[in-house]
C-alpha cells in the first residue's frame, strides 16, 4: 500500500515534528517530581500527539490519525525512540487495550460512547489481575451477578497501572462456572467513579506507586457496557492483550540501543574507557542489545507479512527482559558505590534512565508483568518446541 518513498516521507515528517514538539528538558522536569505533575505532563504530551495524529495511527481509517499500516506505525515508534520523546504511559491502556478491544468487539453504541472520550484524554486502567489470578489469569474470581439489566460486582483487582488516575476500567469478571476456568468469564466496561469502587495505590520497591488495587463493593454496571456475550470474556481479553502487536518492544529495544550512550558516558566519566574489564562487559552487552533490537524488528516484520508463528512474541519479550536486566546491572556495576546512594528517579522515559539502581529494580516490570519470564518459557517450550504440557491433575506427594 505504501511505497518506500512514502515511508521515507513519513519518517522525515515524524522526525521533524518530534524535533519541534518534544518538550525540552522533559527528563529534568520529570525527575524527582510527584505523580500529579507527571500526569499533567503526560496529558499535555498526549494532546499534542493526538492533534498531530501520532497517538492513533493504529485506529481504523475514518478516525483522526487512523488508518496507518503496521509498517507506518513502526516508523512512528522508531522515531519516537530516536527522539527520546516521553512515553505515553498513562494513555497506553486507553489507546491500545480499550480502543482495539472496542474496535474488534464493541457495538456501534459502545464505540460512539467510549472512543471519543479516549481521544479527549480519558484515562483507562486494566482490571484483569487479582491477588490469586496473576500468571493464571483465567482463574479470576471477581464476581459479576446479573440482576435485571445490571451486573452487580464484588471482588478485587490488583496491579492495575495508574488506576488511581483512571476514569474507566476494562474489567474481567466471573459470571458463570469456573470449569474450565476460561469459560464463565465476562468482560465489562466500568466507570471508576461508580458507587462502591475504591482504589488503593500500591507502594513499590522504588518508592513509586504506579500500580493500584481496586475494590468492588456491590458496584453496578449496565448490561449495555458488557463487551461480547456473557461468558465470552476470555476471548475478548485475548484481543486486549494482543492489541499492541509488538510495537512496544520495537520502541523499547530501540530506546535501549540509544541508551548505550548513557553507559558510555558513565564509563568515560569514571575514566574507565581503557579498563579492559569494563570494556569487555560493555562490548558483550552491545552485541546483546543489538540482538534484542533485531528480534523485535524482525518480529514486527513477520506480523506485517503475516508469517508470525506461535511463541515468536514470547521469544521477543523474554529476550528483552533478560537483556534489560543485564543492561541495568552493568550500569549499577560501573556506578559502584555511587549508584547505591539515593537519587530522585525520572518518570515516563526509557527503562534506562541512568539512575541504574532504580532502573534495575524497574526492570522486573518486564520480567514479571505482561506474562512473566516463566510464562513466556512455558509458551516457548510448549508451543514452539512442542514439549508436552504439565499434567492437569497434580497432587503433593
Amino acid at each position: 500500500m505504501n511505497s518506500t518513498v512514502d515511508s521515507n516521507a513519513l519518517r522525515e515528517e515524524v522526525r521533524a515534528w518530534l524535533a519541534a514538539n518534544v518538550p525540552k528538558d522533559w527528563r529534568k522536569a520529570m525527575t524527582g517530581t510527584d505523580q500529579d505533575a507527571f500526569v499533567s505532563a503526560q496529558r499535555e504530551w498526549f494532546n499534542k500527539l493526538v492533534a498531530a495524529g501520532y497517538a492513533t495511527p493504529h485506529w481504523p481509517d475514518g478516525w483522526p490519525g487512523g488508518g496507518r499500516s503496521l509498517a507506518d506505525q513502526k516508523i512512528i515508534y522508531e522515531e519516537t525512540a530516536r527522539a527520546d520523546a516521553p512515553r505515553l504511559i498513562l494513555f497506553f491502556v486507553a489507546l491500545y487495550h480499550s480502543a482495539c478491544t472496542l474496535m474488534e468487539w464493541g457495538t456501534q453504541e459502545q464505540k460512539e460512547k467510549y472512543l471519543p472520550g479516549i481521544l479527549k484524554g480519558e484515562i483507562w486502567c486494566q482490571g484483569f489481575s487479582e491477588p490469586n489470578a496473576g500468571s493464571d489469569l483465567a482463574s479470576v474470581k471477581t464476581r459479576a451477578e446479573l440482576k435485571g439489566d445490571r451486573y452487580v460486582i464484588n471482588g478485587q483487582k490488583t496491579w492495575s497501572t495508574m488506576a488511581q488516575y483512571a476514569d474507566k476500567c476494562l474489567l474481567l469478571t466471573r459470571t458463570g462456572k469456573s470449569e474450565p476456568p476460561q469459560a464463565g468469564l465476562t468482560y465489562l466496561l466500568l466507570d471508576m467513579k461508580a458507587k462502591g469502587v475504591s482504589v488503593r495505590p500500591i507502594s513499590q520497591i522504588t518508592g513509586d506507586d504506579e500500580f493500584a488495587e481496586i475494590f468492588f463493593d456491590d458496584v453496578e454496571v449496565s448490561i449495555e457496557d458488557r463487551v461480547g456475550k456473557d461468558g465470552e470474556g476470555w476471548a475478548v481479553a485475548q484481543s486486549t492483550l494482543s492489541s499492541e502487536r509488538g510495537l512496544t518492544l520495537v520502541e523499547l529495544t530501540q530506546r535501549m540501543r540509544y541508551s548505550l550512550t548513557k553507559l558510555a558516558d558513565v564509563i568515560r566519566e569514571g575514566g574507565r574507557e581503557n579498563d579492559p574489564a569494563v570494556r569487555k562487559d560493555f562490548g558483550a552487552l552491545i552485541a546483546k542489545v543489538n540482538a534484542s533490537c533485531a528480534l523485535a524488528d524482525q518480529y514486527l516484520l513477520k506480523r506485517i507479512s503475516g508469517t508470525e508463528a506461535a511463541g515468536d512474541a514470547s521469544i521477543v519479550k523474554l529476550n528483552y527482559a533478560r537483556t534489560l536486566r543485564e543492561f541495568t546491572k552493568l550500569g549499577m556495576s560501573i556506578s559502584g558505590l555511587q549508584g547505591q546512594y539515593f537519587e530522585d528517579f525520572t518518570r515516563g522515559g526509557s527503562q534506562e534512565t541512568g539512575n541504574w539502581t532504580v532502573d534495575f529494580m524497574n526492570s522486573y516490570n518486564w520480567s514479571i508483568a505482561g506474562g512473566s519470564d516463566e510464562i513466556q518459557r512455558n509458551i516457548i517450550a510448549e508451543r514452539m518446541l512442542l514439549m508436552p504440557r504439565e499434567p492437569k491433575n497434580w497432587q503433593l506427594i
Binding site: 500500500m1 505504501n2 493504529h58 485506529w59 481504523p60 481509517d61 488508518g67 499500516s69 503496521l70 509498517a71 482495539c100 474496535m103 548505550l260 550512550t261 558510555a264 564509563i267 568515560r268 574507557e273 579492559p276 569494563v278 570494556r279 569487555k280 562487559d281 560493555f282 562490548g283 558483550a284 552491545i286 552485541a287 546483546k288 543489538n290 540482538a291 534484542s292 533490537c293 533485531a294 528480534l295 524488528d297 524482525q298 516484520l301 506485517i304 507479512s305 503475516g306 508469517t307 521469544i315 523474554l318 529476550n319 533478560r322 516463566e374 513466556q376 518459557r377 512455558n378 516457548i380 517450550a381 510448549e382 514452539m384 518446541l385 512442542l386 514439549m387 508436552p388 504439565e390 499434567p391
Partner: protein, 352 residues
C-alpha cells in the same frame, strides 16, 4: 489495524531457498559429521563454491547472505569440509584486481583446493618475501594455495614450495583438520597478488568480516540442529514414568536456549541486511564482530547445556553431543580474538 503490506519473495530469494533446501537434503543423506573425502566432491560437483561468486564472474550471485546459508547448513551437519576457508579465499579473488581472476576462480571452484586461515595471522612482507606464521588453516595438506592477508598485502601463496612448513594440529574438534603454516622468506608471486596498499587494507577487512560471518552462520546452524536434537531426545527419554520433556525445570532451559538461538539468528539476519555485500569497512567489520561474539557464545551455551540435558549418554563418543560441543568451543576461539574489546572501543570512539 489493516495491513496491505505483504512480503513478496524475489527470484533470488526463492533460488537461495531452493539451494539451501537441497543442500540440507544432500547433507542429511551423508549423515552427521561426514568426512572431508565424502563431502568435498559433493561441494564441488554441486557448485556450492559458486554461491557467493558474483554473476559477472559466472557465479550464482547470492552474495554474503547466500554463502551464510551454506555455512549454516554445513554447520548443522557438522560436515568436515574446508568450505569456509575455500570460499573466503575465492571471495577475496572475486574482490581483487588479480590478473587472471576468472582463471583462478575456475580452478578453485572445480576441484583444486584453496584455503585460508580461520584465525588472525602474523605475517610480514619485506622485499616481496613473506615470513611468519598462519594458524588454524583447514586442510592445508590437500590445498594447492593459501590466502595471505595482513592489511598491507593480500595474496595467494603456493603451498608446495621451499620455505613453507606445514604442521598438522590435531584439535578436539574432529570435524575440522587444522594446520599451522610457518613461512620463511617465501617469495610472493606477482601474478597471485590480490591487493596491496590501501586496497589491501580494505580487502583484508573484507576477509576478516566474511570469516566472522562464516563462523556466525556455522554457529547458528549448529546450535539450531543441536537444540532440535536435544528437545527430541527429551521427548522420547522417560524417567519416573514420564518423558523428560514434561519436567518444567528442563522445559525452561530449552526455552531459554531457543530464545538465545533465535536472537543469534535475528542478529545475523539484521547484520547481513545492514551490510549487504559491502564488507570492507569499519561498520561492517564491527557488525560482524558483534554478531560473531553473540552467535558463538550462544552456540557454546547450547552445546554445554545440551550435553547436560542428554545426561550420561551425552558423554559417549557414539552420541553427537560432543561433536557439536567441540565445534562450538573451537568456533569461539577462531576469528580475530578480542571481540568484546573491539566492539566496546568501536562504540566509544563513535559516540564520543
Amino acid at each position: 489495524m489493516s495491513d496491505a503490506n505483504t512480503h513478496q519473495r524475489s527470484d533470488a530469494e526463492n533460488e537461495l531457498i531452493e539451494l539451501r533446501d537441497s543442500a540440507r537434503q544432500v547433507l542429511g543423506e551423508q549423515g552427521l559429521a561426514a568426512s572431508e573425502d565424502k563431502v568435498r566432491p559433493i561441494v564441488t560437483d554441486l557448485g556450492w563454491l559458486l554461491v557467493g561468486v558474483p554473476e559477472a564472474l559466472n557465479g550464482l550471485g547470492q552474495g554474503v547472505a547466500g554463502s551464510c546459508a551454506f555455512y549454516a547448513e554445513l554447520g548443522r551437519s557438522l560436515a568436515a569440509v574446508p568450505y569456509a576457508a575455500a570460499t573466503i579465499a575465492i571471495d577475496a579473488i572475486c574482490h581483487s584486481g588479480v590478473a587472471d581472476q576468472q582463471g583462478l576462480i575456475e580452478r578453485f571452484t572445480t576441484g583444486e583446493l584453496v584455503t585460508a586461515s580461520l584465525a588472525e595471522s602474523a605475517v610480514t612482507v619485506s622485499n616481496n618475501k613473506i615470513s611468519g606464521t598462519l594458524s588454524a588453516v583447514p586442510s592445508a595438506d590437500k590445498a594447492s594455495h593459501v590466502l595471505i592477508a595482513n592489511g598491507e598485502q593480500v595474496a595467494l601463496l603456493a603451498l608446495k614450495q621451499p620455505g613453507v612448513e606445514i604442521t598438522a594440529r590435531k584439535t578436539w574438534d574432529e570435524t575440522r583438520r587444522l594446520f599451522d603454516l610457518r613461512l620463511n622468506n617465501v617469495a610472493l608471486d606477482s601474478k597471485l597478488t590480490l591487493a596491496s596498499g590501501t586496497a589491501a587494507q580494505a580487502l583484508s577487512t573484507r576477509i576478516s568480516t566474511l570469516r566472522d560471518f562464516a563462523l556466525v552462520a556455522d554457529a547458528v546452524g549448529g546450535a539450531e540442529a543441536l537444540l532440535e536434537m536435544t528437545v527430541e531426545y527429551l521427548k522420547t527419554r522417560k524417567q519416573f514414568g514420564r518423558p523428560l520433556a514434561l519436567f518444567q525445570a528442563l522445559k525452561h532451559r530449552c526455552a531459554d536456549l531457543k530464545m538465545l538461538v533465535s536472537s543469534a539468528e535475528a542478529l545475523l539476519n539484521d547484520s547481513l541486511g545492514r551490510v549487504g555485500n559491502q564488507l570492507d569497512n569499519a561498520n561492517a567489520s564491527n557488525a560482524a564482530k558483534a554478531t560473531k561474539l553473540l552467535a558463538c557464545s550462544v552456540y557454546a551455551r547450547v552445546a554445554e547445556e545440551s550435553l547436560q540435558l542428554h545426561g550420561g549418554i551425552g558423554m559417549t563418543a557414539e552420541y553427537p553431543c560432543h561433536l557439536y560441543l567441540k565445534r562450538a568451543l573451537l568456533n569461539e576461539h577462531l576469528g580475530s580474538g578480542s571481540y568484546e574489546l573491539d566492539i566496546a572501543d568501536h562504540f566509544l570512539s563513535q559516540n564520543s
